[in-house]
Symmetry: D2
Subunit: 282 residues, 4 copies
């Protein structure tokens, strides 16, 4: 039996010692521990994986952890049991490279999630959902219908008990009505190395500026557009010889890899969000 514990709390002396001692008393063998201190903010972060030879009483463990450690150190913490598969909804529009990448990883057992459904404002990618036999909900979005559309989306998300959402090049901006229900649980891919070229048409803007490097950024969605906590970024070299079409084509490879990496990090409980930034454990 394996447990992963994520903690953050005000920095102070003795936390690691206390937590490892606690785990030790339950006969847990720590197989991974990484910690980080944000000195400016005075916050301590920790991720710990522990194996237990014998089955332990999780709810008792949790109660005891809360009472003996969490309250004392003012921790925000979460505990995850190995093998739990989170439910992940995918939102797409018309581009297929990100969803293909996610679904092929899912289908081959590399991405350990359940995918209850795919939502799109277009019919275009239904054939991919069909290829992978995943329910596909076509919910058109116009200025007029956006409120209604988001209500339908929220219903679906609730009905299927969705844990987190991946915007796999979903070209719509979510309103706070959706974002507030899934704080730090909506992952977007933006096709630039943020904060450069936030907003629409980043490849066009990059081409216009004459940059020698283009990038992609995966981040948690917040109310402010393209300004949420960054999970993962990558870049590739370009030159004057590349057209906007080339930028888009090269960018596709970045986008899908960066998004999939970010999703994997989220699923593996390796991310903590704090002060609009992320701590990403290795």
């Amino acid at each position: 039996m394996k447990l992963t514990i994520l903690i953050h709390c005000p920095d102070q002396s003795g936390i690691i010692s206390s937590v490892t001692h606690f785990v030790h008393e339950y006969k847990g063998n720590i197989i991974y521990l990484d910690q980080h201190v944000d000195k400016e903010a005075g916050v301590f972060f920790m991720r710990l994986e522990s194996e237990f030879e014998n089955e332990i009483d999780i709810s008792f463990f949790k109660q005891s952890f809360e009472k003996n450690l969490a309250q004392n150190y003012k921790m925000k913490w979460s505990l995850h049991r190995d093998g739990e598969k989170p439910k992940m909804a995918i939102f797409v529009s018309k581009y297929n490279h990100c969803i293909y990448d996610l679904l092929s990883r899912y289908h081959s057992g590399e991405l350990l999630v359940d995918i209850p459904f795919i939502v799109s404002n277009h019919q275009d990618l239904k054939y991919i959902a069909d290829q992978f036999q995943i329910p596909y909900y076509h919910i058109p979005v116009t200025k007029q219908t956006k409120t209604l559309a988001e209500e339908k989306q929220l219903e679906l998300l609730k009905e299927y008990n969705v844990d987190f959402i991946v915007l796999a090049r979903y070209m719509q901006i979510l309103s706070s009505k959706v974002i507030d229900v899934f704080p730090k649980r909506i992952i977007n891919i933006h096709h630039s190395f943020l904060p450069a070229f936030a907003g629409a048409k980043p490849y066009h803007a990059a081409f216009e500026r004459g940059v020698k490097i283009i990038g992609a950024t995966s981040h948690y969605v917040t109310a402010e557009l393209d300004a949420g906590p960054i999970i993962e970024q990558d870049v590739t070299a370009v030159s004057h010889s590349h057209s906007i079409k080339d930028f888009i084509s090269k960018g596709r490879d970045l986008e899908k890899i960066v998004l999939s990496r970010a999703v994997q990090l989220h699923v593996a409980r390796k991310t903590i969000v704090y002060n609009n930034k992320t701590v990403i454990f290795s």
Copy 2:
């Protein structure tokens, strides 16, 4: 005898054929030819290196090229003879990593320039100029003395017949009085992947934003701050575990390599500036 020709002109059919034919008639053997067409702007760019078995009359070659080709195709062009060493002035402030990198390349014969002098608004780096036996002019700059300081700089630049200027982490903003005298001939290094984090304290801004990649950008200086044509960029990965101090330290390595690469490209006549962008030949 080797000549390098740089050309740009309105795109039209037959240019390559005409130019190569012309060089061929002078018994030149083309050892390098690269061309680029900016289709949006309708502009043709070409770089050509040619070896001539016999010494040719350069001024006659130039006259003939101008009359038979350049006027016909409305070319802007330049011709460079192999072995000409451009005169490069270095402006610094207090950081030593970029100037050390440039001078060690210069000293070992890797960077084929003459360096008539180094200018600084501080005394701090005089010892490096002394190490390499290069004249060092200390010209302090304050709000009040800036105009006067730039006049002194221009005098020096004129006196030593300087071809181009390298701002090797010179922390002052040049006024258009200097820039206008050296259009497309002042190379700056900015410590971010532009256009992200233009202006002051880019590492602090990058840290604040929580990016996972930091970069450096070398560009030609124009009137608008950090907005000139980009010559070279590079990036390196960072994580939550890096402090601003770490960003600065990692950034130093980027800055010096990116600046030196840009200077090398300029010296090798591999850059053409057009529409606030660069064509960088390989």
Copy 3:
């Protein structure tokens, strides 16, 4: 109408001038020209794209090119008309990441080929062929049946008039009987930065050696294992904290992207093989 011409021949003066003049006479507008001279080998390489306003007589153009240029300069050359889709066969074994990446690009129109069939020595990936509705031939290979299996493969390749083969993590070594029929037309992906870790289990060998970088290499297949001309390579950082399983997982992303890039370069006629090396045009 657009033509792409690939040329290599002994280096000598006047080739570019002659070829561009020739194209010009057919009222072709050169939209891309890149050339390379291997000085050690004394060989000239050129790739040229030209647009023709009017439809031209290709066979006449070819005849004339051969007679007036190719014979004179002892050129090996090929001419490709825009829009021709080469026929690409895919060989796989049990890993699905590379084939998924190729097929999703194919399906979205990013990869301009026809895929007449997929061959595998296992049944495992038939479901993917079915997802994309491509014929799947299961041809088991054992020591005893290898000769027979390759005969079947060659029959299929001939029947479908295949132009080139992609080994998308096909875990079998092809004999010269197949290789000789497709010289410079079989593309393999090897999961290391060759020449390091050629042969079996490169990730295990990389882990054992304690490298800080792992890579993937796509190359044309020759008689000698993993020693053919390299088309494309890429790498990613690893550390002591990564297990062999992590290497394999990170490697998957490299393999699929590197293989797909190599296939794209081949399809776009941007590769020339010479002296067991490649010239890759931009």
Copy 4:
């Protein structure tokens, strides 16, 4: 007062808890803790930085650590006090880029070491030693004089109480007579991404093989040539258009940065060597 502790020992339950508890009892505040378990080898590694408000008795701390923890867990461990500057000798031959990079970092206070002397088998770089006012010992090495030369080197190393040696493109192979005296304390830079192209002339071999990526590797020197534990590697892209001279020029930038990074990691006590591999703490 700040202490850094490096530990490795057979993996078992309770180590982190015990060590952090021990430090806690001395009123140490742990500001950095990272650990790694090599599961195959069954070995536990840990690096810990701790700040102590009050001055503590180091020798008593060490004794107590040894008695209460190290013996119990069979630890190999070391303790380093902040601010100790190790003594680093530099061996060079004729290339100046690595030594310039090291000395400019040293001179600007970025590299916190003492450099008692530079040794070379040639006179060529004496001028750099003079620039930085560091003693330069010219010890020629021929087949006949190698034994004698190494004896002189060892005398110097002993006389100056040198802690570790950096081979900054020292083109000689050290015999085990020197290596045995500085186990895991000689850092070399090899100009290839090892294990590819070990031995002499790696850029020529890389060019011959037609690779698309070249690299540099810094490693601890062991008896077997270019086969010691790797500390740091980096690579850069090349193409058919680059000559061997270009490889060498691009390689220089890699070599100097990779070597300097490795030296910095060693000086910061972030490396542990085990089973011919390294654990590199972040």
